[in-house]
């Protein structure tokens, strides 16, 4: 399986880490809009989340239900060790590259 991280995947993985204990489909959508200013559909988020889970970067468990969800439970996502390693690896890779750029005016 391909264990690389795509651009959107990376953003969403980071968002999951940002939101921490309350990361589920719709909260990720809201945070995405808030932090990037762009809109994203729920279904897109869902499929990215499931892809990340398949790759082992996040894990999930069913959480609590709320009134506005019509009594349906949330699937709460959490970054796994592998996930954290992957984003930090990516970050350090990028930083190395940044450092190699002579100057940026």
């Amino acid at each position: 399986m391909n264990h690389s991280l795509g651009n959107l995947e990376e953003t969403i993985l980071l968002l999951v880490m940002v939101i921490k204990d309350e990361a589920y489909g719709f909260s990720v959508v809201k945070h995405y809009q808030e932090h990037t200013g762009k809109s994203i559909s729920i279904s897109a988020v869902h499929s990215v989340l499931s892809r990340l889970e398949k790759k082992g970067f996040i894990s999930s468990a069913m959480g609590g239900a709320t009134e506005e969800r019509g009594g349906r439970r949330k699937r709460i996502f959490r970054a796994t060790k592998a996930g954290v390693t992957a984003v930090s690896q990516m970050k350090s890779d990028r930083q190395k590259l940044w450092k190699l750029i002579p100057e940026l005016s």
């Binding site: 589920y24 489909g25 959508v29 869902h46 019509g70 439970r73 949330k74 699937r75």
Partner: protein, 873 residues
């Protein structure tokens, strides 16, 4: 109120759609997110937009990611399939009663379908073995006299082919003329009937297989003969026949080739082929000129790109030129009939070169086969679902252990495949067994066994697959639906059982509707056949012998033959005539000589002598018969029938004067009461009767009933003494008339068998179902009996269940069969009324049979000792 409702809830249909496609594992989180988003958006951007977004999101989720699926892969497929077979086999054995009903019913259905398929395939294969069959046609003609269709002639005169040939040089025209007579060769003498005189083009149009010699190109010469192998042996035995001479009716032919017989599925057959040119040596000049002299069949083979319409168009123009101003020409149309249509689509009352088939029978048997097969399939479905209570356990356990619905469907389908396969094997054996009988019913000599092993096997396997899918898919889908919990809760299983019970009832209704339709159809066919048999035709058709004298030798001696026959002890009366009822008729032009009435028309003509009215027991309503006392009668007198008097508008017919064909001037001397000169398919034709010595082709004789064989033998003796060279051709008038309805009679006969089979298979299913129904209520019946119910109280319990179904089928069958059979009856101008009795009889018959079927189990259950059903527990 509704607005508030709408505002707080997302669109229901979209939500439903989501639930439908979304897999169960994902539904909760997706739906939750969508609800939450809806709630959030309602607050922030308004209800309307929120609803819109909800719908949009539902559709965005509609992708493989969220679809229902079973994710587990079955790693142990082979072992499972083995297990399926084992369980299927055990199920079959355990319920051998139901299994044998299934297998046996299906086997009968498949066997009948197989036989009928063979029959239809055979009927459709006629003349298609010729290489050029697709662009080969026969030239036939339709005639109309006074708007009375006088039917189609498949034979044609010499000139039409001759004229067409010059007009269409690209088209190959060929002729076949049937011939017969005393044949002599190598000191052997036989009267031969199957002789065809053909021209050289016939060998280009049709495919012949020569065994020796290839004289096709020489056949424009006269006096050549080609024999079939059997005939060569018959006359010449072991000697080489090529170069030998054979004489037919005093013409000598030299044998130039040996050819194979035509295959069975050819519309013409022969023992001899003689060269057509020889006809010129013994036929009169008028045979080659007169447009009414139809003694040959003309075939045309069009080159590539030359359509039938083009030939038809050219034919009509050629004919127009030929006929000129002759008003009769307008009555006749020549046109092409595709070669492949000859066998099933020829409609003629004038006879044909061979015996044709009947499209009616092909269609009727196809429909019957389908009905019988469907009834058998329904049995399978019904018995499978009826036993669902037993299957519930198996399904539940399998599901609890981890089987998916898909697996169960496969398993049940395998079971039906197994049953069908078994049925197919039995069906093939059964088909072989009943094939001879079947052939007799349909009047065909189909080859026993496989005509083409590979194709037939392919169709059996393909058909079996379709049947097992058809019969097995519903039970498979239905049975695999049970959830494991339905085993524990009685409620779950019951509600599922209800829907199946409705389907089951529906199928039983369909089965019996179909059966009753077939029974009613059979009864109606027989009612019509009886009607035909009993119909007052206006003459007495019983005990009339008809002797054909269609040859010159006999024709010269016809008066002598008549006198000799009339002297026989059992002969009451004899007469000479051109036609008897049932024959096709000629027509003459009739012009009134009354200057006030310039009436001109055409009338059908029957020519006969003084004694015809007496011989056939025809009645005169006015005037007098031809009489020997008036010498002029033989030339100047005519009779008319009532319809003709009406058509000509004669108020006082006796003494009215006409000219015939613009030549003879004649006077009406009497009026004959209307009689059916044609079949009951047609109206009574206006007829003209005259004496005409050269037109007598038949001797008719009314004989005493009893000693018929003796009488015929004495007539044959007279014939042999006078006309040794010609076949003796005698028949009974009533047989000749019955032959008009041959395909209807055969349809009736085959429908008897088809409807018996249909009701039998339907009852097989009913037998199984009623056994099941009583089994289910065994305890109930036991308790009722223990509480004092008698047999008479128990029986209605069971009967009631099925009586309603039968009643509904009966009601459904009435309009269906009425419509179907009314269409058929419309073929006859004179036909029986369908009437309510038919349906009452069909209903009583089927309900009686069904009652006996159900009765067996019901009686057993009602009579059983309650102890047996209540003891354990």
């Amino acid at each position: 109120m509704t607005q508030l409702y709408n505002r707080t809830k997302p669109p229901q249909w979209a939500d439903k759609f989501l639930r439908w496609y979304c897999s169960a594992e994902l539904l909760e989180e997706i739906q939750g997110d969508l609800y939450e988003a809806f709630d959030y958006r309602t607050k922030h951007i308004g209800a309307k937009k929120a609803r819109w977004h909800f719908v949009l999101d539902v559709f965005k989720f509609f992708r493989p990611y969220s679809f229902k699926r079973t994710r587990v892969k079955n790693l142990n497929n082979l072992a499972m399939i083995k297990n399926y077979f084992k369980v299927a086999y055990r199920n079959l054995r355990k319920d051998y009663f139901y299994s044998s009903i299934n297998v046996f019913g299906l086997a009968i259905g498949i066997a009948i379908t197989l036989l009928i398929a063979r029959f239809i395939q055979y009927e459709l294969s006629f003349d298609k073995f010729h290489t050029n069959y697709e662009n080969t046609y026969r030239i036939i003609r339709d005639r109309k006299v006074n708007d009375f269709e006088t039917g189609t002639n498949t034979a044609s005169p010499y000139l039409i082919g001759e004229l067409a040939k010059t007009d269409m040089p690209d088209v190959v025209f060929g002729r076949i003329a049937p011939h017969s007579g005393l044949t002599v060769a190598a000191e052997k003498k036989f009267v031969e009937n199957d002789i065809l005189m053909v021209d050289e083009n016939i060998f280009k149009i049709f495919d012949f297989e020569f065994v020796a010699g290839n004289p096709a190109n020489d056949f424009h010469q006269p006096n050549l003969a080609i024999l079939t192998k059997d005939i060569a042996t018959k006359y010449f035995e072991e000697e080489d026949p090529i170069g030998k001479f054979i004489s037919v009716r005093d013409q000598t032919y030299s044998v130039v080739g040996i050819v194979k017989r035509m295959p069975q599925n050819s519309h013409f057959h022969f023992d001899f082929l003689l060269s057509f040119e020889t006809n010129r040596k013994f036929r009169s000049a008028s045979s080659f000129e007169h447009p009414g002299n139809l003694w040959m069949y003309t075939y045309a083979m069009a080159p590539e790109g030359f359509g039938a319409e083009e030939i038809d168009y050219n034919l009509s123009k050629v004919y127009e030129k030929w006929a000129g101003d002759n008003p009769f020409a307008k009555n006749t149309t020549y046109y092409t009939q595709p070669l492949a249509d000859i066998h099933l689509k020829t409609k003629t009352d004038g006879g044909d070169i061979g015996t044709n088939g009947s499209l009616l029978i092909v269609q009727g048997s196809a429909v019957s086969a389908l009905i019988i097969l469907l009834i058998a399939c329904f049995n399978f479905m019904n018995l499978a679902t009826a036993r669902s209570t037993k299957k519930v356990k198996e399904v539940s356990v399998r599901k609890a252990v981890g089987a998916y619905r898909k697996n169960l469907i496969v398993q049940f389908l395998l079971e039906s495949v197994l049953v069908t396969a078994l049925a197919c094997v039995i069906a093939v054996a059964l088909a072989q067994l009943i094939a001879p009988f079947f052939n007799k019913v349909l009047g065909r000599e189909l080859p026993l066994g496989f005509s083409n092993l590979q194709t037939e096997l392919f169709w059996i396997v393909a058909g079996g697959a379709v049947i097992s899918l058809l019969a097995g898919s519903y039970p498979a889908i239905y049975l695999s639906r049970f959830s494991p919990s339905s085993l524990m809760t009685s409620h779950g299983g019951k509600s599922a059982g209800m829907s199946a019970a409705i389907v089951r009832k529906g199928l039983v209704i369909l089965q019996f509707t179909a059966s009753i339709i077939l029974i009613a159809a059979t009864l109606i066919i027989y009612k019509q056949l009886n009607f035909i048999q009993a119909k007052e035709l206006g003459f007495n058709k019983e005990n009339v012998l008809v002797l054909s004298i269609t040859n010159s030798q006999a024709s010269e001696k016809k008066q002598f033959l008549k006198n000799e026959i009339s002297r026989l002890p059992n002969v009451i009366s004899t007469s000479l005539a051109s036609n008897v009822p049932g024959d096709g008729l000629n027509s003459w032009r009739v012009e009134s000589l009354d200057p006030d009435k310039k009436a001109q028309t055409s009338l059908h003509v029957m020519v006969f002598d003084y004694d015809y009215l007496q011989t056939l027991n025809l009645d005169l309503v006015a005037g007098r018969n031809f009489s020997r006392d008036f010498a002029s009668d033989s030339l100047e007198a005519i009779l008319l029938n009532q319809s003709a008097v009406e058509l000509l508008g004669l108020e006082d017919p006796i003494g009215a004067e006409f000219s015939l064909n613009g030549q003879n001037e004649v006077k009406v001397i009497g009026v004959v009461k209307d009689f059916h000169s044609g079949s009951l398919y047609e109206e009574i034709n206006p007829l003209l009767f005259k004496m005409e010595d050269s037109w007598y082709w038949k001797v008719t004789a009314r004989v005493e009933p009893g000693n018929l064989q003796e009488t015929i033998a004495s007539i044959e003796k007279i014939w042999k003494g006078q006309v040794s060279d010609w076949p003796f051709n005698i028949s009974f008038l009533d047989d000749r008339l019955a032959r008009q309805y041959e395909s209807d009679i055969r349809l009736g006969q085959s429908f008897v068998y088809f409807s018996v089979l249909a009701i039998f298979i339907a009852c097989l299913g009913l037998f199984g179902l009623s056994s099941f129904a009583t089994e289910q209520r065994f305890k109930e019946i036991g308790i009722r009996k223990a509480l004092g119910a008698g047999t008479g109280d128990i029986l209605p319990l069971i009967f009631k269940q099925f009586a309603v179904l039968l009643l509904i089928s009966f009601l459904l069958a009435i309009p269906a069969s009425w419509y179907m059979m009314d269409t058929w009856l419309q073929n006859f101008v004179f036909h029986a009324e369908i009437g309510p009795m038919i349906f009452v009889m069909a209903g009583i018959l089927s309900i009686l049979v069904a009652a006996i079927t159900i009765g067996y189990h019901s009686m057993r259950a009602a009579r059983a000792n309650p102890v047996d059903s209540l003891r354990y527990e």
